[in-house]
Symmetry: none
Subunit: 300 residues, 2 copies
């Protein structure tokens, strides 16, 4: 990959893929040398260094409204710290583009039968090189300096590192824990054989958050996504205070505590449960489920 600086300068804007105006997170598609490139821009949050000075650094007021004790205006503020977080995917595949493109989203009911018939063949069809970056991290070939903790046990080991969405603050703590073993694809794979790994992750992540930030276990939300964005087992660790961290929504996030509890209540819970998941209409899984539904309707 060329340097980020070069990519930004050579980027030819094509169109907006999605824009979350609430979080100020934008994804745009463009071209570099005839290849697709996705850029995301996100406004930075205010920093501890900047906050006390914001009022006196505010200038260029426009759109002023005043009513009784209330006032509103647009303005510019000169901050000490960078105002933007940039992310680059280059070259980007069609799958990347679909992932970030705004689209209708559906809540699919995945029964064990539909998992075997549709989801599992989809997982097996994925190009293994898509998760090369995971192995790069596990083998210490990439991001080694970012790793917060490494447990090399082949069965119960894992790597903890900061999520790319994390700004480094205690309040919005966001780590990701990647299992060392590569035979757990998702929630569906989990059995009581994995309890040692799951408890090891919970115990160590909580211990580290306490050591580094004074965050207690009850101030942390550990969860697993279904469907995950990549089929190598990983756990998200966020601060409870980060109430609307991306992806903590029910129907996507499963609390690690509940996962452990379910495996203890019923050994084959994740093989027998119907697991709902939310997916965009252009995702291959959504298309496959839709085709199956249409097939049933034709037969009826």
């Amino acid at each position: 990959m060329s340097s980020i600086d070069t990519i930004l300068q050579e980027f030819r804007f094509e169109r907006v893929l999605s824009h979350d105006t609430r979080t100020k997170l934008l994804f745009v598609l463009g071209q570099i040398n005839g290849e697709n490139c996705i850029l995301s821009f996100e406004k930075s949050q205010y920093t501890d260094e900047d906050i006390p000075q914001l009022a006196c650094q505010t200038h260029g007021l426009t759109d002023i409204t005043q009513n009784d004790i209330y006032g509103w205006a647009s303005a510019r503020i000169t901050t000490v710290n960078p105002d933007t977080r940039v992310k680059i995917i280059y070259p980007a595949t069609d799958l990347h583009i679909r992932k970030y493109e705004q689209q209708a989203r559906f809540l699919i009911q995945e029964t064990p039968e539909l998992f075997k018939m549709i989801t599992w063949p989809y997982i097996q069809s994925l190009d293994p090189s898509r998760i090369q970056w995971v192995y790069n991290i596990l083998e210490g070939k990439s991001e080694a300096e970012r790793v917060i903790y490494r447990d090399t046990d082949p069965k119960t080991g894992f790597v903890i590192l900061p999520d790319m969405k994390w700004d480094g603050s205690k309040e919005s703590l966001y780590w990701v824990v990647i299992a060392a073993r590569d035979d757990i694809y998702s929630l569906r794979s989990l059995t009581p054989d994995h309890l040692d790994l799951l408890k090891n992750i919970r115990q160590r992540a909580c211990q580290l958050a306490e050591e580094k930030f004074g965050l207690k276990q009850k101030q942390l939300r550990l969860f697993v996504h279904y469907q995950p964005s990549y089929y190598h087992f990983h756990v998200h660790v966020t601060a409870v205070s980060f109430a609307d961290a991306p992806g903590v929504v029910a129907g996507q996030a499963h609390l690690l505590d509940t996962v452990i509890d379910n495996l203890q209540l019923m050994a084959d819970y994740y093989q027998r449960a119907t697991l709902p998941f939310v997916v965009g209409e252009r995702h291959p899984l959504c298309i496959a489920y839709q085709a199956q539904e249409d097939g049933i309707e034709r037969q009826e």
Copy 2:
């Protein structure tokens, strides 16, 4: 009120009231001439005018990370439009301050034993008149004109009405379904005896959303809160497209589909499961759980 410009220049910063790092919305408290003043600063969203130029206006890259086809960096961008939205409340009352002040939130693990020891006595201690408004709705004495649907069966009946947070649009649909029977306090009460009620609610709510808005079942997210805000069984119905509807977060929202599935997998699931819930530090339940924890620590 003085001009906004003057207020900003005279503002003496005291402390942060709350900071939503995801939406980049900050509330700070300060003083002007011995009176309280609340300022809010919110980063502006990207504008149509700025978006095509963002890449080439990006400069001052720092914190650069690259891995395979992915890259990240912090940066500065010079935009055409103002970067900030400012709001002022001056003079601000104590009520304003409390409204914007952050409260620490904790994720409590409620085992069946702790439910019996702490949560259940708390529920029983609540003044029944607190949910008089629920009975007023069920009996048609209040909000009768707002009711969307009414099923009067004493066992499987319910009332559907719009949630107060709903703006009336299809995309952010938000209804609430209140059970007619008054013997289900929360998830903890549910057994397979209630499956007819739960399925009746699901079937009817989905049918109505389809009739009124053309929303299919897979475009709806039905969920139950734990802890609920009132201990009379009710179900929330939202559009999946309303991705960040209030209260859909894991650890608070339990999908109705999963609730039904769990009851079918294990009859006494909700009496045996550990149910985590998030609660503010000043809530009586949080204080009771904290007292219990402190007691254990003293004994150890």
